[in-house]
């Protein structure tokens, strides 16, 4: 491989925020399975109805009290354009996003997988240029396809990060 080619790839990877090898928490929204860097995950809670915020978009369910901190709860299923139901097994992942703490509602949480560098591939080129920028990689685990998600990219606008 020539140096300029490698240099270009490294630069592109840096720009794409290539996911690091390591442990990822796997969770589901609908039929899709996602993974998020375990270091961003603070805790996992069961869903409780948050306090509504007036004039917030539908996917911002409101805020909850997390041991004294006021934390916004975003329903990822609504954000990703899917249906959302709230049952006893609905789960909220509390994570750190862009130096804030936020909770995201997902359908279920499965396990923690350890991904080696060679298991992580760059995301497939999607025809539509406005495709999901928050997916920064794809990993194969057993027969599963894990979409590695960058929450900062997905939630910055919603949380009002400048």
């Amino acid at each position: 491989m020539d140096m300029t080619g490698e240099g270009g790839r490294i630069a592109r990877d840096a720009a794409n925020r290539q996911p690091r090898p390591g442990e990822y928490l796997a969770w589901r929204v609908g039929s899709e399975e996602y993974g998020i860097d375990i270091r961003k995950v603070q805790e996992i809670r069961s869903y409780e109805a948050p306090t509504r915020i007036p004039s917030a978009p539908a996917h911002v369910k409101g805020v909850v009290n997390l041991r004294g901190a006021i934390v916004p709860v975003v329903d990822l299923r609504l954000k990703l354009g899917r249906e959302a139901g709230y049952t006893a097994s609905t789960v909220v992942i509390v994570l750190s996003v862009a130096r804030r703490v936020a909770g995201v509602v997902v359908d279920s949480v499965s396990d923690v997988v350890d991904l080696a560098a060679d298991a992580i591939r760059p995301p497939p080129e999607v025809a539509d240029a406005t495709g999901p920028r928050f997916i920064t990689g794809v990993a194969s685990v057993g027969g599963r396809m894990l979409l590695l998600a960058d929450m900062d990219t997905l939630l910055s606008d919603t949380l009002g990060v400048s």
């Binding site: 306090t51 915020i53 007036p54 004039s55 006021i70």
Partner: protein
């Protein structure tokens, strides 16, 4: 011996912060004292105090090797020493130069803290030296002049005695001699025998050089730390009765090297004007904020306990009631004490103005007298920081547009100097800060004209109060010309927005030819608030008690409609107030069944409205939490709190609700 230079090499950076803080305080005191100095009849106490401020800063600066600051403070000290010994009389120009020197020191301090290009000090050093020379009666012999202060006399070689010690190794002496020999302009350095009474482990040199003291020290620092070097005029040239030249302080660690005393002891002895030091303690803001957070948690827990106890059976409850009420009382007292830690007197804010006004007045050619009332009034530290900019703008406005030129004032039968009054007082749960001037007042006609020119609706029937409020509209400036001080028309809009963001209000009052008064009202603290909780659509919301006028259940048919049902009003005593459903304002779903509503009359910025809610829940103190810590600013909401049951309740921004509700603007009195 070796330990000495090792101690000097210790990482001193951990002590920098203390020096920065103390130096900043000293510079503030320095400026205040100078501003208060009566040039014609200077008080000895003031002169001594000013000298001590400069001396303290010099001591610390020299210890840490901040030679630019040390040189400048040394030059200031030289002049101040002459003044305090009555060897010279102070003049306004001297005060100006000293004030400028103080500014430059602040800038140098800032560069040390944050990095950046430090300002040049040559001009100031020369100016300070000139003041000294101008005052000196008989010109001192040339070599003596060179020994005063730090700057190099161009072309003039000086004979200096250099004491280095104790040197880390014996070879250092030879290294230094070689170094000076090699470096052009360094001068001639030769070993000299020890002087009588000199410390045995120091090495003495004679140096003939054209370089300045700081350049010499810089050169030596290749082999020996600056702090271990003392420069003095060579004894032969030193007049017996003069002792103005003070050598840079040697690190006391040199004396206590073996015991390993931290060098931070050095600044402390030099700092004299700290009579208040014994009564105060320096605490980091983080620690205080942590206390406040814990206090908040305690209040919440105590509220939860009280609520749970209320749900117990009578027998169990009685056992708890005594303890719980004690707990509540103690918690409240503790909370007040903790909040009080963050309270700072308004004098901290007011003290920034004398200097600014002095410069501003002289630049505009106006004469000003500043009066302050109620400087001891205290305000939460967080608010103090945020109110300073808006207040500064208001003060500048008064001076720029309010106070007239002396000639105009005299023609109007007023005194030549204008008076600006800054006042602060507590009123209810708020602090009221006023900026008042006795200038020419606001021109109602011009404001209306400007508003109309900007496309705003400004009928002649507007009351004075409403006309003054137009000033806060963005883009509206009635200044004849835009000065760099104010007049771009963006100021008052931003001022009001900033004050509103703090949960406060701002009002204007003016009389043509007499003056203008701006009144700012702020809550005493942002952290804890008395609130009334109301229920709407199954959610709890908190209204600040300070905004609530009254609440009542309207009789059937009391709420009337206007304009085909678009607006609703209710008669309260003699007034018709607009009725706004909180349900609608909060975009909550419509109720399943129509329940009899409750009305809460709220007031903000001289406007009232009636908020319709489902039920009144209770009154309590709430701990205000910030939504923006993890989320964005939500319009109509000023914060959130955690109720006794652990749920989050939103705290409503009443002024915003009043402002935004279209009904509130339409109703005639």
């Amino acid at each position: 011996m070796t330990a000495t230079t090792a101690a000097a090499d210790h990482d001193l950076t951990q002590f920098y912060q203390v020096f920065f803080d103390e130096a900043a305080e000293n510079l503030d005191t320095f400026e205040q004292l100078l501003l208060g100095l009566d040039v014609d009849a200077p008080s000895d106490d003031t002169l001594h105090a000013v000298f001590r401020c400069a001396h303290s800063v010099k001591g610390g600066a020299a210890t840490f090797g901040f030679s630019d600051m040390a040189d400048l403070t040394h030059a200031m000290e030289t002049l101040l020493d002459r003044l305090r010994r009555h060897e010279q009389k102070p003049s306004t120009q001297m005060v100006d130069t000293l004030l400028q020197a103080g500014d430059t020191l602040r800038a140098l301090l800032h560069c040390r803290r944050e990095g950046g290009e430090p300002p040049a000090t040559d001009g100031l050093l020369r100016a300070l030296a000139r003041h000294c020379e101008a005052g000196a009666g008989t010109p001192a012999p040339a070599p003596m002049q060179a020994a005063h202060g730090m700057p190099a006399q161009p072309g003039g070689a000086r004979d200096l005695e250099m004491l280095v010690g104790p040197p880390a190794t014996a070879a250092i002496a030879d290294d230094l001699i070689e170094l000076f020999a090699e470096v052009s302009g360094g001068g001639r350095l030769e070993r000299a025998g020890n002087a009588p009474g000199q410390a045995g482990d120091c090495v003495r040199f004679r140096l003939n050089t054209t370089a300045s003291d700081s350049e010499v020290l810089d050169l030596c620092s290749f082999h020996a730390p600056r702090d271990a070097i003392r420069l003095q005029p060579w004894p032969a040239a030193r007049a017996a009765d003069f002792e103005l030249f003070e050598p840079p302080p040697v690190l006391p660690a040199a004396a206590s090297a073996l015991s390993g005393t931290p060098p931070a002891a050095a600044p402390a002895p030099a700092a004299a004007p700290r009579t208040a030091a014994a009564e105060t303690i320096r605490v980091s803001v983080d620690k205080v904020d942590q206390l406040i957070n814990l206090m908040g948690e305690l209040v919440i827990t105590q509220a939860m306990l009280a609520q749970r106890a209320g749900q117990l059976g009578t027998g169990a409850r009685e056992q708890l009631v005594g303890g719980l009420s004690d707990l509540e009382r103690t918690t409240r007292d503790l909370q007040e004490s903790v909040m009080a830690i963050r309270m700072i007197p308004m004098s901290d804010v007011f003290n920034r103005f004398p200097r600014m006004l002095r410069d501003l007045a002289s630049r505009l050619g106006k004469q000003l007298e500043l009066r302050t009332v109620g400087e001891a009034t205290e305000l939460d530290k967080g608010l103090i920081e945020k109110i300073t900019d808006p207040l500064t703008h208001l003060v500048r406005n008064s001076v720029d547009h309010g106070i007239e030129l002396p000639a105009e004032r005299i023609a109007a039968g007023k005194s030549a100097h204008g008076t600006l009054t800054l006042s602060a007082r507590h009123e209810g749960g708020c602090i009221v800060i006023e900026v008042q001037d006795d200038g020419k007042g606001l021109d109602r006609g011009r404001i209306i004209a400007k508003a109309r020119a900007a496309g705003m609706d400004a009928p002649d029937t507007m009351s004075d109060g409403e006309v003054w409020q137009l000033i806060f509209a963005p883009g509206l400036s009635t200044a004849e010309e835009v000065t760099d001080i104010s007049g771009r028309g963006v100021g008052m809009d931003v001022v009001r927005r900033n004050i509103l963001a703090l949960g406060g209000t701002v009002e204007l009052d003016s009389a043509r030819g007499k003056g203008t008064r701006v009144r700012v009202r702020l809550p005493l603290t942002l952290a804890i608030m008395d609130g009334m909780s109301v229920g709407v659509a199954g959610e709890l919301y908190v209204l600040p008690l300070a905004s609530i006028v009254e609440s009542f259940q309207p009789q059937a048919g009391a709420i009337r409609t206007l304009a085909g049902g678009a607006h609703r009003v209710v008669k309260v005593r003699d007034e018709y107030l607009p009725v706004v459903g909180l349900r609608d304002a909060m975009n909550a779903p419509p109720p399943d069944e129509a329940a009899p509503p409750m009305l809460v009359v709220v007031q903000a910025e001289s406007r009232s409205m009636a908020l319709e809610v489902d039920r009144l829940v209770g009154q309590q103190q709430v701990v205000v939490k910030n939504l923006e810590a993890n989320f964005r600013k939500v319009p109509g909401v000023s914060g959130a709190t955690i109720m006794g049951d652990g749920r989050v309740a939103l705290i409503l921004d009443v002024p915003a609700l009043v402002r935004c509700s279209p009904a509130a603007q339409a109703v005639p009195a």
